[in-house]
Amino acid sequence: MTVNPALIRKDFPIFERTVREGKKLVYLDNGATSQKPNSVIEAESDFYRFKNAAVHRGAHQLAEEATEVYEQARDLVASFLGGVSDEIIFTKSATESLNLLAYAIGSAEPSNRFHLAEGDKIVVTEMEHHANLIPWQQLAKRNRATLGWFEVNSEGRLDLSQIESIIDSKTKIVALTHQSNVLGTVNPLQEIVKRAHEVGAIVILDACQSVPHMKINVKELGIDFLAFSGHKALGPTGVGILWGRSEMLADLPPFLFGGSMIETVSMTEATWANPPKRFEAGVPNMAQAVGLGAAVKYLTTIGLESIHDHEMKLTQQLIHGLQSNSDVEIYGPAGCDMRGGVVSFSLANIHPHDLGQFLDSQGIAVRTGHHCAWPLNRKLGVVATTRASVYLYNDSSDIDALLLGVCDAQRFFARA
């Protein structure tokens, strides 16, 4: 099936509004967050309207029904990722999923497989979002572990030439992004996973920018943990996913303590429930989880392969258009191989904030700044860039609008 953006946009009420005095909304900030289809908005509000009760507690009908739809959402996410339901943990965001892992691992006793001892190593990459850098950087500090990383080369790809010495026998954790939120680069997991497992390290994948845009099967990727945020995948804010391989989750200590995550409790001791409950302390974001279930259903119906094909066509159009402007520099792979629909660029003499402001006046929403990846920006030698990121509801007229906007901005700022 090919994606028909005109039809799809009818499902997204936000496109009925205009911005900046009657201008059509050209939304190209999907890397930050996606818009929501009616089915997601309704699933979330219907939960409050018809089912609202605390899940996994209470002996009444509403509690039963609330639990049922909440667990259905878990099943939907599980099959969406190619995992099983007990491997799906609802968190509040990818940020929380990654922190959960970092704190849980950091607290593992010496007898636990996750124990991180002084001198052990954690490996990340230079292209990480702060959410998949700082938790590991700080865990390394707390546990006196060392932090190593893969550098980014001039093509915007990971330099894997030193993989054997970077992922060495001391390495316990390899945490990396599937797709860079700045460069659009999709990282080659096979080689990294193989080397990590060779030395007995676990692989944690930040899939925030990939899960919403391409078909993912966690079993095929061979990774151990995966995190993503619902709100970038057509879902609500306030819900994220941590997927972990069953045998991993079985040994992982809890991070947040409280209601629902226990097996037995006395005044001085407690034992833990099995996963996923062990990692879902307190009454969860139920309506949001149900909304995320509706989102992955929507994505599955359209088809992730079709969505990815569609996005790559737009990305190609965008890259070609930008390349024909001699004042534009693109950061990240120039080709469409192993890359997603995120394109960051700079424009000679015009600061990204000023360009973003001008584009906004034309109804075009892009992201400007460091995109929560300061170390990568430093490596690229830029303080900030302008980022356009596409999704299933964008069409080629959106790309044309952006390309035209860039030229108009050049004229506008040249006037003084």
């Binding site: 904030h353 001008f358 460091h370 303080v383 700022f413």
Partner: protein
């Protein structure tokens, strides 16, 4: 809203031809401020002689609003005594928080009233204030010396 209201020519002009840019070697205090949400940075060197701003220079990277604002600020505050400088700074801060209801006092702010339009763009107010907040910090530090 018309964008040329935000980007007045005098602003673009200061951005392209900044004044007092380049840090002087001598200084009483140096202050470095960053805007963590966008990465804009500014450093200013301040020297006070007999209670008067005798030297104020800056360097930085950022958008036209933050850089032009720093440029105009340094020109405005040069030669002013501490109290006069405070009045100018407060007047500019008030203008930025006026949500488009004020044109700014030209007697106090001179060309810097060109930034009045910024107050209608909430995300840009911090840009315009970057240099001014750095000066405020520097003034406090000099006073404490």
């Amino acid at each position: 809203m018309d964008l040329s209201n935000l980007y007045q020519e005098v602003i673009l002009d200061h951005y392209k031809h900044p004044e007092h840019k380049g840090l002087s070697l001598e200084k009483d205090v140096q202050v470095h401020h960053i805007n963590p949400s966008c990465g804009d940075e500014i450093t200013i060197n301040l020297t006070m002689r007999d209670g008067v701003v005798s030297d104020l220079t800056w360097d930085g990277v950022g958008c036209s609003i933050s850089m032009a604002s720093a440029s105009m600020m340094t020109g405005l505050l040069h030669g002013k005594n501490a109290a006069e400088a405070t009045v100018i700074v407060e007047s500019f801060v008030d203008l930025m928080h006026s949500k488009g209801t004020s044109q700014g006092d030209e007697n106090v702010l001179e060309d810097a009233v060109a930034f009045a339009g910024v107050s209608q763009y909430p995300a840009r107010i911090k840009c315009a204030l970057l240099g001014w907040m750095a000066y405020k910090d520097a003034a406090i530090q000099v006073h404490g010396k």
